[in-house]
């Protein structure tokens, strides 16, 4: 409709146009990229770990004194825990998924290769490990009691059979079943055989691009350093009570150690992703602040223009504009300004994304973010200008002759 004269009139007030246009452009660029980062973090946080998180917790202790017997303590502790009413199962374990601390190794398909094919997290568990974790076995079998061995600082090589996460199997042998395959954890020692595959098992490093989903269960108990860590699974609803109970009992069984506070897997997940959550909160605040500032900027600018142009509006009415036409004039003007800003903002949004990709290993912004952001800002602009535009439409036509 009136776009050309509106545009040429706007070109005569370039400073305001540039200011509000740039504000809209910046808002689009930052909001699109922030929303994308938020959605990426949310997707990261929503990935299932593959284990039972609701009913599991971990507890650890450090033994002291000359004659501290790791193997015996393990046996006593596990027997105690497994006999407690409400405990579903318990296992020794060296690290917890998403906890950001653990053991990793490189895997090689052949003995000759210099660099490994894939990295993996190692979980040392006993024959109760799979059941305690609640990981879903999709091929092969669980460990037998007789397969569980002790591992100390001097132990070389690896047990004959291990259980592997499906993602790792697909990485090592794309398109083939991992079950029964052999892989080298140490190229100078015999390979290990995949005796079971679990659907998912996250590594302790949820932010690692290389090995977040790559894990191996190894049937060994780490002895010799006096450190013990257990994973316990309880019946639903009994976790918190059993955490306290087991913490206390471990201290009673063996006085020559310090029991560390038991921590639920839910809490570990929360801590593991705390940075992501903080980032999401900050970005949400940034987005909200930008949208509010932009909306207020539009309201302020439009109000100013309506006041400044009161006589002009009266004149337009005197020349035959209906109220609706005046309203539409200001809505259209806002649409034109917003569109100019969005055109610049779209370029800035992609540029900003490229910069994030180069400097922060960000992913490519999906194409639909910018169009969606444009629609949102168009709507925001129209809503923001509606008040001033309605005020303009109520300027009486007599303003043309009455005001000086």
């Amino acid at each position: 409709m009136e776009i050309r004269p509106i545009l040429s009139a706007l070109m005569r007030s370039k400073v305001s146009l540039v200011l509000i246009g740039l504000q809209i452009a910046l808002t689009l660029a930052i909001v699109c990229n922030s929303l994308f980062i938020i959605s990426e973090r949310a997707a990261l946080m929503q990935r299932p770990s593959g284990i039972n998180e609701a009913d599991t917790f971990t507890v650890s202790s450090i033994g002291f004194g000359e004659g501290f017997d790791d193997a015996r303590t393990f046996a006593e502790d596990l027997a105690m825990m497994r006999s407690l009413p409400g405990v579903v199962d318990a296992t020794t374990i060296n690290a917890i998924p998403m906890s950001n601390g653990g053991w990793s190794e490189g895997l090689s398909l052949t003995q000759e290769q210099k660099t490994s094919t894939a990295p993996t997290a190692i979980y040392f568990v006993d024959d109760h490990g799979l059941n305690t974790l609640g990981a879903q076995l999709i091929a092969g079998r669980d460990f037998r009691p007789d397969e569980v061995s002790e591992r100390n600082r001097t132990t070389q090589g690896w047990p004959a059979g291990v259980i592997m996460s499906r993602a790792l199997g697909e990485k090592l042998w794309p398109g083939q079943a991992a079950l029964g395959k052999q892989v080298y954890l140490d190229t100078e020692k015999p390979p290990v055989t995949i005796i079971g595959v679990v659907d998912r098992l996250q590594s302790p490093w949820p932010h690692s691009k290389r090995l977040a989903e790559f894990s191996i269960l190894v049937p060994q108990q780490l002895v010799g350093d006096g450190r013990m860590r257990y994973l316990v699974r309880t019946a639903p609803g009994q976790r918190d009570a059993l955490m306290k109970q087991i913490e206390a009992k471990l201290g009673e069984i063996n006085h020559s150690r310090i029991v560390r506070e038991a921590r639920s897997i839910e809490r570990i997940r929360g801590e593991g992703y705390s940075q992501d959550r903080a980032m999401m909160i900050i970005l949400t605040i940034v987005i909200a602040a930008l949208l509010i500032i932009t909306a207020l900027g539009i309201v302020g600018m439009a109000s100013f223009w309506v006041t400044q142009r009161t006589k002009q509006i009266g004149t337009r009415r005197a020349l035959g504009a209906t109220r609706g036409m005046i309203l539409r004039y200001f809505l259209t003007e806002n649409f034109v300004i917003t569109t100019l800003g969005l055109a610049i903002g779209a370029a800035m949004a992609y540029g900003f994304n490229v910069w994030l990709i180069q400097n922060y290993e960000a992913a490519r912004l999906p194409w639909y973010y910018v169009p969606a952001g444009c629609v949102a800002l168009w709507i925001l602009g129209q809503l923001a200008v509606l008040g001033p535009a309605r005020r303009a439409s109520r300027v009486p036509p007599a303003m043309a002759t009455r005001s000086v």
Partner: protein, 240 residues
């Protein structure tokens, strides 16, 4: 063309009532050039605003080109104003951010003419006021007299039934005022119906007919000989 019978206009604020027009009757025929004079605050602008449908009236009857405008809604009044009225303001009221072409275009867009029709009308009316060469100029680049001629072109462009001018020369020096007055006279000679409010007796004398307003009431000089003695508008009698 324009007929008001016993029209009244009351401005009400919470403190006072102002009777701007009372028992106001006037009949302007097609092709007439009427000058409206009167002291400041007598109701001249109020009359013109009501005549041009910028304001509503309180009582009485008003027919514009045979149409009873009482009780018309705002949109209908706007459309009627756009179609039948050409306004010329004391302060020109051009839109500073639009060039001459776009200024004259404003009422034509409200009318809904297509682009070719608008272009034709804009060029014709700017040519009529002698400003064809300045279409791309902005109002601030013109003298006051030229700006008022643009405003007249804008008023003419829609082929209105009647031109309403409120002190059209009030902001101009004598020479420019003469030029604008000459233009109005030429338009009248070509058949335009014009109502012009002025406080300048010399200009009023050049109109075909004079209407004097005092205290919100019409005092028609010809039918009210007693007014002569007061010497309010000595030169107004001349035209028949």
């Amino acid at each position: 063309m324009l007929k008001m019978n016993h029209l009244s206009k009351v401005y009400r604020t919470h403190l006072i009532e102002t009777h701007a027009l009372r028992d106001f009757s006037i009949h302007v025929r097609e092709g007439e050039f009427v000058a409206v004079t009167g002291p400041s605050g007598s109701g001249k602008t109020t009359f013109l605003n009501i005549a041009g449908l910028l304001e509503e009236f309180t009582g009485g009857e008003f027919l514009l080109d045979g149409i009873d405008v009482r009780g018309m809604n705002d949109d209908a009044r706007s459309r009627l104003r756009n179609e039948k009225i050409g306004f010329i303001f004391q302060g020109f009221n051009l839109i500073p951010d639009l060039n001459l072409f776009d200024n004259v275009d404003v009422p034509l867009r409200y009318r809904g003419f297509n682009a070719a029709e608008r272009k034709r009308r804009i060029e014709e009316s700017l040519a009529r006021v002698g400003l064809s060469a300045r279409v791309k100029h902005f109002p601030s680049e013109l003298s006051g007299g030229q700006q008022q001629r643009v405003a007249i072109a804008r008023a003419l462009a829609g082929s209105p039934k009647i031109l309403l001018a409120d002190e059209p020369t009030g902001n101009l020096d004598t020479q420019m005022a003469r030029g604008v007055m000459q233009l109005l006279e030429d338009l009248h000679a070509e058949g335009a119906t014009i109502i012009m409010v002025t406080h300048d007796p010399e200009l009023a004398a050049r109109a075909q007919r004079n209407v004097h307003v005092i205290d919100g009431q019409v005092v028609d000089i010809q039918s009210e000989p007693r007014m002569r003695g007061l010497g309010v508008v000595q030169s107004a009698v001349a035209v028949g």
